[in-house]
């Protein structure tokens, strides 16, 4: 992995009224890696994701995406950046009035000259690549289970083959089998499509299974970054508790057994 940051955050400050969520936060995301972002509830993991995805400008700081200043650029170049990124929201955030297939087709409608037949075929391909059965394409989001909605959300996020994908709690609310299948899906897609993944999660199994690097959010900034093995040696009480708690041990044990 070359040191080629596709996203560079410097001195990010986010606050809601008097409540400061991030202060002087620095983070790099390198090309081709899967970065897991962890932190306690309320440490602003999702806020950080929304901040990079351009949904919420930070109060201070710099965001560089693909080497461009993402905060002070023209609207056109922001759109160009957005076209190279995909976001999967927590519950899929599918458009409820459209079928799953139409949902996946939405981003493709911006491509000039792409005829409806090919667009439909490509949407079917994305649906199948995200592990949904063919019949799911014709259903409306409300007819799908939570796990299938997440897969459909991933299919839409991947519709234009983005370089960076943001996943907000991809395995929350899934049963263990569904969750580990989703972990494998993320891993497989990130390898074969060369994706860079920014993954917000609470799920230790997901961290073990998919992430190349982990960033820990605490005390309003990124306290530590490193691999899973590095995290086990961090002294910080919260990080220690997180990676050495009963659930973490169980996750590590399972991983060691399977290896």
């Amino acid at each position: 992995m070359a040191a080629d940051p596709v996203i560079r955050l410097r001195g990010i400050r986010n606050q809601f009224g008097p409540a400061v969520v991030h202060d002087d936060l620095d983070l790099d995301l390198y090309r081709g890696e899967v970065l897991g972002v962890v932190g306690g509830s309320g440490t602003g993991k999702s806020v950080l994701l929304r901040c990079i995805a351009g949904l919420r400008p930070p109060q201070a700081g710099q965001i560089e995406i693909f080497g461009q200043d993402a905060l002070n650029c023209s609207e056109a170049s922001r759109r160009e950046i957005d076209a190279r990124m995909g976001v999967m929201f927590q519950d899929g955030a599918l458009f409820s009035s459209l079928t799953v297939r139409e949902n996946v087709e939405v981003p493709m409608k911006n491509i000039k000259g792409l005829d409806a037949g090919l667009r439909r075929e490509l949407a079917d391909l994305k649906i199948s690549m995200s592990g949904l059965p063919y019949a799911a394409g014709g259903k409306s989001p409300s007819e799908l289970s939570g796990g299938m909605r997440k897969r459909a959300g991933l299919a839409r996020a991947l519709a234009l083959d983005p370089e960076i994908v943001f996943l907000d709690e991809p395995t929350a609310g899934l049963d263990p089998i569904g969750a580990s299948a989703f972990d494998e899906l993320i891993k497989a897609l990130s390898e074969s499509l060369g994706l860079t993944v920014f993954l917000v999660t609470h799920d230790l199994d997901t961290l073990h299974a998919t992430c190349d690097r982990i960033a820990v959010l605490a005390e309003k900034r990124v306290m530590y970054t490193g691999t899973m093995a590095d995290m086990l040696h961090v002294e910080h009480p919260w990080v220690h508790e997180y990676f050495h708690g009963p659930r973490a041990r169980a996750a590590i044990d399972t991983l060691e057994r399977t290896n």
Partner: protein
């Protein structure tokens, strides 16, 4: 345009400075144009002609014949595909070899195009062999090949006469069931209301006051204004017509009877239906959507007691009051217009009103108010309970609650009108 021309002129440059001069002659200082990485990659393998000049960020790919095989050059991505697909579709033959050594970018859409080309050739008895595939492209093509969607088409049956009859039958039965459900809702409301007589402690007075405020007090300005304007319009139109007969004074009777008997209460009910039926549906519907109503049932709280009774009762109490306000402000509007337009002084208006208009008109008007209130409240609450699990059904139910309640109010008004006419009241 300028970017594209500059790009044609200097395809290998990273950036160039162009001194632009507008038609007005004002020179614009240096404009720096940067080419994204992609466009330089494309330009080295493919030169677009003037007819398809591309904006920066656009991608192109080309299919070129090389000896006995073909070669794919440039980009094979979703953006390049619209231009590339026809060329790929024209490829035919027994054994096609396609070299990917000059391919710079491939995405899933491009891999899909290659894979569907392979499938098409194999169906017609031929084959496709890819040569010089770069490892990451190969991995992607394999991944897409595994995931190729297999359509499961269910044959669509043609619509037959029996199917159409079935649809009509279902619609009729559905509307019958709807009416039945409304009666069930009315029954539920009355049953809960009477059970309060036995257990007054269960009654939610705070909720009732809150809903009276929402339904009644907050609607006063719009109801008063609307009714005032209706009075003005009636007086004005009546004056124009009655003046021809020298019967201007009868404008008082016209205003009084039409407002007191029909319009005051009907228009109030229509406004309230639009305001309140929708808010009942939205409030109850969003609670239904977030499973709050299911939670109430598991906590042994009766949704009818907590949600329906205070709302419908608030309507029952406030709609007659709103009707009274509408009547007064309608008469006031009419009297003002009669004074300005016909010179009928307020004193004369009042005398004429009290002498000539029987109080039974007021009574005929007010008798309808509780019926309208029940119709609006029950349709609103029923529609709220019909909301499913998604936001779309909430919107659909809200608008149908408004349409249905206004329609039902007008139908009820028509029935009352016929009834009173037959009874000579």
């Amino acid at each position: 345009m300028i970017r594209a021309m500059a790009y044609l002129a200097a395809p290998q440059m990273n950036a160039l400075r162009v001194n632009l001069t507008l038609a007005t002659g004002n020179p614009i200082p240096y404009t720096e144009i940067r080419f994204p990485e992609d466009i330089r990659n494309v330009s080295s393998t493919a030169t677009p002609d003037a007819s398809d000049m591309q904006l920066p960020g656009a991608e192109q790919g080309h299919l070129v014949q090389r000896g006995d095989g073909w070669s794919l050059q440039g980009n094979c991505t979703i953006r390049a595909l619209p231009a590339l697909k026809p060329a790929l579709d024209r490829l035919a033959g027994q054994n096609i070899t396609l070299s990917l050594s000059e391919l710079s970018r491939l995405d899933t859409a491009g891999a899909y195009a290659l894979e569907s080309l392979r499938q098409r050739l194999e169906r017609s008895g031929g084959s496709l062999s890819l040569r010089d595939v770069q490892p990451d492209h190969g991995a992607l093509i394999d991944r897409v090949a595994q995931a190729m969607p297999k359509p499961e088409t269910s044959p669509k049956k043609p619509m037959r006469l029996t199917d159409m009859l079935e649809l009509i039958g279902r619609a009729v039965a559905g509307s019958g069931r709807f009416l039945l459900e409304l009666h069930a809702m009315l029954g539920l409301f009355l049953a809960r209301l009477f059970s309060f007589l036995r257990h007054p402690g269960q009654f939610r007075l705070t909720a009732l006051v809150h809903h009276c405020d929402q339904v009644g007090w907050k609607a006063v300005p719009i109801v008063a204004l609307m009714s005032f304007l209706i009075g003005v319009v009636l007086a004005f139109q009546g004056a124009v017509q009655l003046r021809q007969f020298g019967a201007e004074i009868f404008v008082v009777d016209l205003i009084a009877i039409s407002i007191l008997r029909e319009l005051g209460i009907l228009l109030t009910a229509i406004i309230v239906a639009g305001r309140t039926a929708s808010s009942f549906t939205a409030a109850i519907g969003s609670m239904k959507m977030r499973e709050e109503i299911d939670a109430m049932q598991t906590l042994a709280i009766d949704p009818a007691t907590v949600l329906f009774v205070p709302r419908i009762l608030a309507l029952l109490i406030t709609l007659p009051i709103l009707g009274l306000i509408a009547n007064v402000s309608g008469l006031f509007g009419g009297a003002m217009m009669a004074w300005i337009e016909l010179g009928i002084s307020p004193g004369m208006f009042l005398t004429r009103l009290l002498e000539d208009t029987s109080p039974r008109h007021v009574l005929v008007g007010f008798v309808k108010a509780p019926v309208f209130a029940l119709i609006i409240g029950i349709i609103g609450c029923h529609a709220g309970m019909g909301v499913g699990g998604n936001a779309e059904s909430l919107g659909r139910q809200t608008s149908s609650a408004v349409v249905r309640s206004i329609f039902a109010v007008i139908v009820a008004a028509a029935l009352f009108s016929v009834f009173f006419a037959l009874m000579d009241i």
